[in-house]
Amino acid sequence: MNHLPLIIKREYLNKVKNKSFIIMTFLSPLIMVGLFALIAFLTQLNNDKVRTISILDESKLFVSQFKSTDKTKYDILTNVSLEDAKKIVQESKNYGLLYIPKADSIDALADKIKFYSEDSPSLMTMEEIERKIETKARDIKLRKSGIDPDLIHKLKVNVTANLETFSGEKTSKLGSTLKLVFGGAAGYLLFMFIIIYGNMIMRSVIEEKTSRIIEVIISSVKPIQLLLGKIFGTSLAGITQFLIWILIGGILMTVVSTVFGINMSGSPMASQEAVNQVANSAEMQKMMNLGMQEVLNLPLANLAIMFVLFFVGGYLLYGSLYAAIGAAVDSETDTQQFMMPILMPLMLAIYVGFFTVIENPHGTVSQIFSYVPFTSPVVMLMRIPFGVPIWQQLLSVAILFGTFFLTVLFAAKIYRVGILMYGKKPSYKELRKWLKY
């Protein structure tokens, strides 16, 4: 008798109707969005404070460089000694005092510039100040050597190589970044999914053991049916949760960003000048078009199909192992020793993905790991946007599913024996023995 649909239905409904599952499903995106909003809000708040920096420039060379902006006010001190200046700054509770002494040459002066403050000043503030001084100092030195700085500026040539594949597709560096984003997101999503819902499978197996219902069930159903039913049912519940998260998350992001006018995508680090540069709307338009073009140029259909295949294959592979662990132990606290061999290849996949594939998508290491079934789902998914021949992808999928059938057989054996073993924390040696029963 085939009870698989019945078991899948029960597993699914049981997960989905669970109170903590429902709460997690609807609360998590709220918390996430709330957190993002809070961070964005706090960053803005942090930057809203106007800083006043006092400047005592005895050389009189750099005063013109420091023009007050919305966020930073420069207070130029004249005709005071350094000691007095320090006192003034301390009393007025200003952010700090920049002291530029008089010196014979620019080089001699460079070492003697000092910045006094109550606490250590922020790195960004210091970098800005240093850049201002450096620019001016270079200009002065250029002039002294008889070179017009404006001329240098004019002579500068910007080179951007136009990338094009042999088949004539135009690409760009932006394209490469996009490919990384797509591949990385797919791989990381799968990684997260395996960890969250693999654990869920394990817990559900342990629950059947601790509640002692297992013997009743397997007098009616074959263990392998129960095992598969669990894996499929939990996966469906997981996919449901993921879809709801994406949906709610998307809606909330849109609502929050329009209502509160907080620009969540904009990096608060971007300096005013950089923003000004890109603000040129024509340039912006061009970038957007190019980006869209690049996205469309990606092998989207290929990526989507392979994403589904690798996602399903990878999850089933790891899910069956999680189920075997659940069957082998009596409580969740006993699972630690068996978790390592599962987490190791997963971590390896993520590291190989984020370091090696980014470095060289078609290098030897990347290639090998995109065939090894325990890492291929993550690594291959990250490689596909950079163009992998279809036959290689199919080969990798075939290896993955082949291994899945082997691990399910392996897991089913452990499972069959383990679910009826109570009150015992087995060692690896015992697990090996179970395989022979």
């Binding site: 008798m1 019945l6 009743v216 029963y437």
Partner: protein, 308 residues
């Protein structure tokens, strides 16, 4: 006799450990069959083999003359010793699910559950979660689920554990009733008094081997010791005792009485009859008590296991 279940020469090994060593049992149709044995003897392994939870390494199990196969699942109802229910599921939902796993349709299952829930007066539990039930309440649900699909063969492993005497009695009556309706019952327990009361056949397994089986009544006959419990009212106590000692094997007896009499367990030889003993006794005094000592299942169990 017509047997419902026959297990022949079952061998099951777990690694180096032999859990069952060539065990054979025959369970007659319509009987209540007691499967007895000390802890770890291999009873549960045998029961799991009958339920096709584990496969035997050697041997053959037939149900109604047919080799055990997967569609026999619906013909067997099993209440394991280690039993439980999904804690977070509602009682009704869960009973429906388990019934469907045994091959009932949803409507069939609903109808029969209604009958049993009415019978046990537990209709109000339908929407409760299992974790709200007491252990005894949960056991009732498990019992219902075991018998719901009207299997030919019912297997109960320690069915009374967790029940108070009243509920244990209800369950006992239900088991007897099911037997009346044609079911065959295999019954594994350590409570010898319920074996005494209910079983008509027993098999005793010890250290992976079957060491005794058959009709309970035959086994008792086989184990009878020709000992009679005797009470004799007489004036000359010492003299009578001496006389009896010369002719029979005596031992202390302990039973309640209202008279101040001689009390003995008297064993007669194979050649002698009870009548001969009585004529000896009546010649010496007034006979107030005369009972044949029948070995209890408890005695047989302990004696057989210790002798092996």
């Amino acid at each position: 006799m017509d047997n419902l279940l026959v297990a022949e020469n079952i061998v099951k090994k777990f690694g180096d450990y032999t859990a069952l060593n060539g065990v054979s049992i025959e369970v007659p149709k319509g009987s209540i069959f007691g499967l007895l044995g000390p802890n770890g003897a291999g009873k549960t392994t045998l029961i799991r083999i009958i339920n096709q939870i584990t496969m035997p390494d050697e041997g053959l199990v037939t149900l109604d003359g047919v080799k055990l196969q997967s569609n026999h699942i619906k013909d067997i109802g099993y209440l394991p010793e280690e039993r439980g229910l999904y804690k977070s599921m509602k009682v009704g939902e869960q009973a429906l699910y388990l019934a469907q796993l045994k091959g009932l349709t949803k409507n069939q299952a609903k109808e029969r559950l209604k009958y049993w829930f009415d019978k046990f007066e537990i209709t109000s539990w339908w929407n409760k979660k299992v974790q709200e039930l007491s252990k005894g309440m949960a056991q009732k649900i498990q019992f219902i689920v075991t018998v719901l699909h009207q299997p030919k063969l019912l297997i109960f492993d320690e069915p009374f554990s967790g029940f108070d005497p009243i509920n244990a009695n209800i369950i006992k009556d239900e088991i007897l009733q099911l037997r009346e309706e044609g079911a065959t019952v295999i019954f594994s327990t350590h409570r010898m008094e319920s074996v005494e009361e209910m079983c008509d056949h027993i098999a005793l397994i010890h250290e992976s081997n079957k060491i005794l089986d058959g009709k309970l009544i035959d086994i008792k006959r086989q184990y009878k010791s020709n000992i009679y419990e005797v009470g004799l009212l007489t004036e000359q106590k010492a003299e009578t005792e001496k006389y009896l000692k010369e002719n029979f094997e005596l031992s202390e007896a302990n039973f309640k009485t209202i008279n101040d009499e001689l009390k003995f367990n008297i064993k007669i030889d194979a050649g002698q009859t009870a009548n001969q003993l009585i004529s000896h006794l009546t010649s010496k005094g007034q006979l107030t008590h005369f009972v044949e000592v029948i070995p209890s299942v408890n005695d047989i169990f302990i004696q057989t296991v210790q002798n092996n």
